[in-house]
């Protein structure tokens, strides 16, 4: 097989003020004709920089210091922008992570597709429109006429990524580089988009270099995989082989870090049975948001974010709340703690209705860990100060000195040390920041902790460590968790019971062991089908049958 793309000994450096960062050091990679190769690694491993180097799209501070990138028979390293333009689009198509930013917001889809068609296929304006329409149909968009006239912001995330695929494919490139093409999408849409991408590539014989951090995506799509770490490829091989018998210890750690759906029964540690005593009870809770109205230039409208949700969380259990983006799970979490006012219903915490008495006692016993600690921590306060402040405020600490000591103890509990107390949030790594966020909540010794996607901003290996920490803390401090997430595998691995939210309504709640029961709601099944398992061979023989096999078992 001849290689479409051959990268050898590639090194890229970033010159930052005061430091030179070697983002890529001697990367070796090749993509054969019509082959789908996955480049997988954690954030900062250099995978996106490698992809950007191929198309000469490196940021200003970066520089290729060595190696070669061959496309077909041509050496791309050292070419000027004008010469590279010959290959951009026509020879190599690029699909970016976020179609919101990579599609031009000021032009309708039709003109963006049409311009690309005219540039690369040298067709007339009228023909270009035809080409655009055919391609929209090929990427599975039915109402092509509406979409051609639409602006990017008028389309859903999945639709935008389909358009992006059409845009990258219509010039008939030999190679498509897809940089985390589905990371910004919901799980159910992710699978459709990936299948579309694979289908098109197979049809036209296009090779695909897929950059991802998700081993499920690797398993679902690629025939070969390269694992990247700190700028070098540590392991490369056929997907089946790397996933089942990884040679490099790093690959093994990465794969083991990913929670697998259906892996719950395999977990050793038995949980103490939760006491049958509700700590949090929601009765017919609803929330409407008013949009528009006077002074906004838009018609007044009401969005029902949450409607008629009733559920109870028992003391000592982990309750998982899952749903797609926009299903109202974060809003529900905020309603439960009285962070935003309810439009309907009642919430009772440990027998007392929220809103009746003061919030002081409630705040101490009812805590949150937010999704992205980068924004949930105040950037201008030190970690120690952020933990200590609520302690004195809510009367948990006797004085400033006591608050400081308790803050240090909380930091130690989450695996940081006293030296970290004087640091600002930006001086921590992502995982450490989330630990500070957790320390801030548990320092108050709460009874109930709501975890709003606590690991979605983290790398897989960091995620595993944080999840382990959460389970340890729960046992140690006798906590009750409500975990919110969109990743069914994580929710399943953590929770005792699961509630599924869809469009603001709670469609069902069930014991986690009954996840695969045939009585599950269609929405739950859709979430289950969307999961891309790493070891597809475990449950069934082929990729596509795996979902169905599991349900039957």
């Amino acid at each position: 097989m001849t290689a479409v793309l051959g990268i050898s000994g590639l090194s890229v450096e970033f010159a930052l003020p005061g430091a030179v960062v070697h983002a890529v050091r001697g990367a070796e990679l090749s993509v054969g004709q019509g082959e789908v190769v996955a480049l997988v690694g954690e954030s900062g491993s250099g995978k996106s920089v490698t992809a950007a180097a191929v198309l000469g799209l490196l940021p200003r501070a970066a520089r290729i210091t060595g190696g070669s990138i061959r496309f077909g028979g041509t050496e791309l390293v050292g070419l000027q922008d004008r010469q590279l333009n010959v290959y951009r689009g026509a020879g190599i198509g690029m699909i970016f992570q976020n179609p919101v930013t990579s599609l031009d917001p000021s032009f309708p889809i039709g003109s963006q597709l049409g311009d690309t068609a005219r540039l690369h296929l040298r067709v007339s304006r009228a023909q270009a429109r035809g080409v655009a329409r055919t391609w929209l149909a090929r990427v599975g968009i039915q109402d092509a006429d509406r979409v051609l006239r639409a602006y990017p912001h008028e389309l859903s995330g999945g639709m935008r990524q389909r358009v992006m695929i059409a845009l990258a494919s219509l010039s008939g490139p030999e190679l498509l580089i897809a940089d985390e093409p589905t990371t910004a999408l919901d799980a159910t849409v992710q699978r459709q988009v990936l299948d579309l991408l694979l289908g098109l590539a197979a049809e036209t014989g296009t090779a695909v270099l897929l950059i991802t951090h998700d081993f499920g995506v690797v398993s679902h799509t690629s025939s070969r995989v390269a694992v990247m770490r700190e700028g070098t490829i540590v392991e490369e091989g056929s997907t089946a082989q790397v996933l089942t018998a990884p040679e490099h210890p790093y690959t093994r750690t990465l794969i083991d870090s990913v929670p697998e759906i259906g892996g719950r029964s395999a977990r050793a540690s038995p949980r103490p049975a939760p006491v049958d005593e509700p700590i949090l009870e929601l009765r017919h809770v609803g929330k409407d948001f008013d949009l528009g109205g006077f002074g906004t230039g838009r018609q007044k409208s009401v969005v029902r974010a949450v409607q008629d949700v009733s559920l109870s969380v028992h003391r000592g259990e982990i309750f998982g709340l899952i749903g797609e983006s926009g299903s109202g799970k974060s809003t529900l979490a905020r309603l439960a703690g009285g962070l935003i006012p309810r439009t309907a219903g009642t919430v009772a915490f440990d027998g007392t209705e929220i809103g009746e008495s003061g919030t002081r006692e409630l705040r101490r016993r009812f805590q949150y860990v937010f999704q992205d600690a980068a924004t949930a921590l105040n950037p201008r306060l030190t970690a120690g100060e952020q933990i200590a402040r609520p302690l004195s405020r809510l009367g948990k600490a006797a004085g400033r000195k006591d608050a400081r000591e308790r803050a240090l103890r909380a930091l130690e509990l989450v695996g940081l040390d006293a030296g970290h107390a004087g640091r600002y949030p930006r001086e921590f790594s992502g995982g450490q920041r989330q630990r500070v966020g957790i320390a801030r909540a548990i320092a108050l010794e709460p009874d109930l902790l709501i975890l709003d996607e606590p690991t979605s901003a983290l790398d897989v290996s960091t995620q595993a460590a944080v999840l382990r920490l959460l389970l340890e803390l729960k046992a140690e401090l006798d906590l009750t968790y409500v975990v919110i997430g969109h990743d069914l595998a994580i929710i399943e691995s953590l929770s005792d019971r699961i509630g599924v939210l869809s469009r603001g309504s709670l469609v069902e709640t069930f014991e986690t062991d009954e996840l695969f029961s045939p009585q599950r709601h269609p929405q739950t099944r859709a979430l289950l089908d969307a999961v891309l398992p790493i070891h597809s061979g475990r449950a069934g023989t082929g990729r596509d049958s795996s979902g169905r096999e599991r349900e039957a078992s």
Binding site: G295, R380, G431
Partner: protein, 285 residues
């Protein structure tokens, strides 16, 4: 890949190091330091009394014996007057901008966190203040109290508050939507606690930057008001006043009387702007 206890390297230099490397900012700071020192030490440095003239030695040229920069139409030493002339302008601009910054920050913060109606009302009032001719304020103030330092302070505060309010309002509105504010609420912080304990620290840098640039603008503005006769009154030495007096003799072959104070105003205003830009690079990376 970072483990829980390994620390990411500090890729940025410290704020001070970045400031020192910023050429404009350092130059601005240096010039300002010199101007402030000279203004403070003016009574010691000045070769002559800035307010008493010598009727026998009127409009001496630059480099005349005893008068390095010449004398003005009343025979007063221009060098001494330039050395003394910055004291009023600097004190007035810095203090009134400081007052305006505090007032504007309070109003902007309040507006951003108040309900929709209250904040709407407040910002429309601010719009009104923008539309109000500042010179009219100066004239009315001069009619109520005597022309002088208080007219300058009042006018600058009146003129600067709406700008600061708008800047702070816009920034605070962005901060308000950030998750850390919600987190603080979940951690039991009260409304005022969030305003001053959480949000204000995040606004300080932009307010300081903006305030620094405002001082530069208002040095020029107070000089103009003094030149119009609404500000610092004769016989006290003041750059603005000197420019207007010097303008009368500019065409008669004595350019120095107006030019030297004008250069001083320019230099100080420029320095404040450079300092403001430098601070932006340092504090708002």
């Amino acid at each position: 890949m970072t483990t829980a206890t390994a620390n990411p390297p500090r890729l940025r230099r410290s704020a001070v190091a970045r400031f020192v490397r910023n050429r404009e900012a350092m130059l601005g700071l240096l010039v300002l330091a010199v101007v402030v020192l000279v203004s403070l030490a003016a009574p010691l440095l000045a070769p002559a009394d800035p307010t008493t003239g010598d009727p026998a030695d009127v409009l001496a040229p630059i480099g005349a014996p005893g008068h390095l920069l010449g004398t003005d139409a009343q025979g007063r030493d221009v060098l001494s007057r330039v050395l003394h002339g910055g004291r009023g302008a600097l004190a007035v601009s810095v203090s009134s901008v400081a007052v305006a910054v505090v007032l504007g920050t309070a109003l902007g913060l309040f507006g951003a966190f108040a309900g929709r109606r209250v904040s709407g009302l407040l910002m429309r009032v601010v719009d009104l203040l923008f539309a109000f001719p500042v010179i009219l304020v100066a004239l009315s103030l001069a009619a109520i109290v005597q022309p002088g330092v208080w007219v300058l302070i009042g006018t600058v505060v009146f003129g600067a508050v709406p700008y600061v309010t708008r800047v702070v309002f816009a920034e605070a509105k962005i901060e308000r939507e950030k998750e850390y504010v919600e987190a603080a609420r979940a951690l039991g912080a009260s409304g005022t606690g969030i305003l001053f304990g959480e949000v204000l620290p995040n606004l300080v840098s932009s307010v300081v930057i903006y305030g620094t640039s405002l001082v530069g603008v208002n040095i020029v503005f107070t000089a103009s008001l003094s030149a119009l006769g609404l500000g610092i009154q004769p016989p006290a030495a003041d750059w603005g006043r000197m420019i207007s007096e010097g303008a009368a003799v500019l065409v008669t072959g004595n350019p120095g009387v107006a030019t030297f104070p004008a250069v001083a105003v320019l230099l100080v205003a420029l320095s404040f702007n450079w300092l403001g830009d430098g601070l932006r690079d340092v504090l708002d990376p």
